[in-house]
Amino acid sequence: MATPRHRRVGDSPLVRRSLIGLAVVFTVLLLFMPLALIFVEALSEGWAVYVGNILDEYTLHAIGLTLFVALLTVPLNMVFGVFLAWLVTRFRFPGRKVLITLIDIPFAVSPVVAGLLYLLLYGGNGWVGQWLGQYDIQLMFSWPGIVMVTVFVTCPFVARELIPLMQQQGSEEEEAGVVLGASGWQLFRRITLPNIRWALLYGVILTNARAVGEFGAVSVVSGNIRGETNTLPLHVELLYQDYNAVGAFAASSLLAGIALITLAVKAIVEWRQSRL
């Protein structure tokens, strides 16, 4: 007996196949090919040249500086993000809504503009910069400036991940904990932190990816001094302007590698989160 087949709206084979086909074409053209090209170009003159490019003195320095910036930025924004999320989800105070909106400013503002603002404020001629200059403290065109703008650009990631989760979880568990006699620190350590750990890790991964890859804001405040204030993304651009395409792609392949690792870890964390 033939049973009538019921189809949902838009579920005809033609629509389905063309949508899938379109998605595949775009993914290959826009995402996969450029990524593959990086490694193809980087290795176009053989492994020896590739390794040589990576072990170049300036490239090594750029790698070091990039990791150093990330190492400072990530813990800072992790603490800041947890603090902020805790503040806006556990307390009611005037200006709370405004604060939640302000968290997004670094997302809304172009990183180049952010870099310029820091330069105007903390540069040698800026308000704060002039005052600091009297004490021989220079923030711009050196690593503190790079860290400052990177912190600015990446500060929403952790808070953005935590706020919806903590809002949804509510504060009942913490209240139950405090009734049972837990101190503030015990509450955080034993109840809040375990409940948000995967979202926190996710936020940290995103922060790290962005801190490593940030170009616009950093290029304004770093001064691009080779071997001193050159981060990996800036180094890629410099090599490319030197007509050293293979070297530029070799350095890019490192950034792409970090991106791929980030994606893998992100996928694992998402999988863990969905199981909870």
Partner: protein, 363 residues
């Protein structure tokens, strides 16, 4: 441990959530805070626990002022409506939490904690679930674990915020009985919040009825049901049938409906309140009452047959409800749309100029 609540006022911005609450909760009793949502009962419970603070007033435990004492130091047990179990901990870890966070000097040793947790889990008859996570439990099991967790610190005061509100009817009834027996065994002072009048009347020694941030009446369940102080309490405690009318010459009248009042009443506007079981149904009006109805609906489910009545020739805000026995129903076989008359046996008269209702008896 008795609880004394003195002159509590609480505001949320400009909204007054609690208005000058004065209340004594006796030692070792089960007290219900009953009221509709928004009546302030949960706020009051949270103030007793210390989870919320009041603008004015004092809270005393056995005469000791605890108003300024932090929640963590009040050592009360608290059970939340949605259980608030720690989701990343096993059942045993949940129950052990209070003991685990004690300062090192006061904390019992690991084996003793394990022993006490096992004892508590046996008390709630869930010792076989010790290693499960909250997500793997049913609602009723979660609430029993929450109770065990609250009892772990051996509190003398147990506060429960709509403890059975999120459970289905059958589990709710079971847990209610179980809490009653646990209370009879351990004799702690408990206060629980509910909006379910049946739950309050069945479970508690004393019921505090609240509305709009004020206490309406405090009484034993029996007294409360038999002699409500106000229209609000009357309305809130169970189904009630109302005849609003004008009183003249000892008769309350509205449209075609009238009832002779047995006691001398002044001429006034008034309302006659009748419980469903205080009304009889007849085919003909009597000399004392003329309350014509059409039968609107018949429900045969339950211990008695519930008949909904629509007034015929007069008006009321809500349909009347009368319960008759199944044998009575089978003898007469009333049908939808039939005309019939109600005859009051006991009633409660509220008049404009009287603060308290008058209880009337026709027999």
């Amino acid at each position: 441990m008795s609880i004394e609540i003195q002159g509590i006022n609480k505001f949320f911005d400009r909204f007054q959530a609690l208005n000058d609450i004065n209340l004594t909760i006796p030692d070792g009793q089960l007290t219900a805070l009953l009221g509709p949502s928004g009546s302030g009962k949960t706020t009051l419970l949270r103030i007793i626990a210390g989870l919320e603070s009041a603008e004015q007033g004092r809270i005393l435990f056995s005469g000791r002022d605890v108003t300024g004492l932090h929640v963590r130091d009040r050592s009360v047990g608290f059970v939340f409506q949605h259980y608030a179990l720690f989701r990343h901990m096993t059942v045993a870890q949940n129950v052990a939490f209070g003991l685990d966070v004690l300062p090192r000097r006061e904390r019992p040793g690991k084996p003793e904690i394990r022993q006490r947790v096992n004892g508590l889990l046996e008390m709630v008859q869930l010792d076989h679930l010790a290693n499960r996570y909250p997500a793997q439990l049913s609602g009723g099991q979660k609430q029993r674990i929450a109770l065990a967790r609250a009892m772990a610190m051996r509190p003398e005061i147990l506060l429960l915020d709509e403890p059975f509100g999120a459970l289905d009817a059958k589990v709710r009834k079971e847990l209610r009985r179980w809490l009653r027996s646990l209370h009879d065994e351990l004799h702690f002072t408990s206060v629980f919040v509910t909006h379910d009048q049946e739950e309050a009347l069945e479970l508690s020694d004393q019921v505090v009825v609240m509305s709009n941030g004020s206490v309406e009446q405090v009484d034993s369940p029996l007294e409360l049901y038999a002699r409500p102080d106000s229209r609000f309490v009357f309305d809130f405690l169970g189904q009630v049938n109302v005849l609003s009318g004008t009183i003249g010459n000892g008769i309350i009248r509205q449209g075609d409906a009238w009832v002779k009042l047995p006691r001398g009443c002044d001429d006034d506007d008034g309302q006659l309140y009748l419980r469903p079981h205080e009304v009889r149904l007849t085919q003909q009006p009597t000399r004392e009452a003329h309350l014509p109805f059409r039968i609107e609906a018949i429900s045969v489910i339950g211990a008695e047959v519930r008949i909904e009545l629509k007034p015929d020739g007069w008006e009321c805000d809500e349909l009347w409800e009368v319960g008759i026995s199944h044998s009575d129903f089978n003898a007469r076989k009333p049908q939808r749309g039939d005309r019939c008359y109600a005859v009051p046996e006991v009633g409660h008269l509220f008049c404009e100029h009287l603060d308290e209702p008058k209880t009337l008896n026709w027999h």
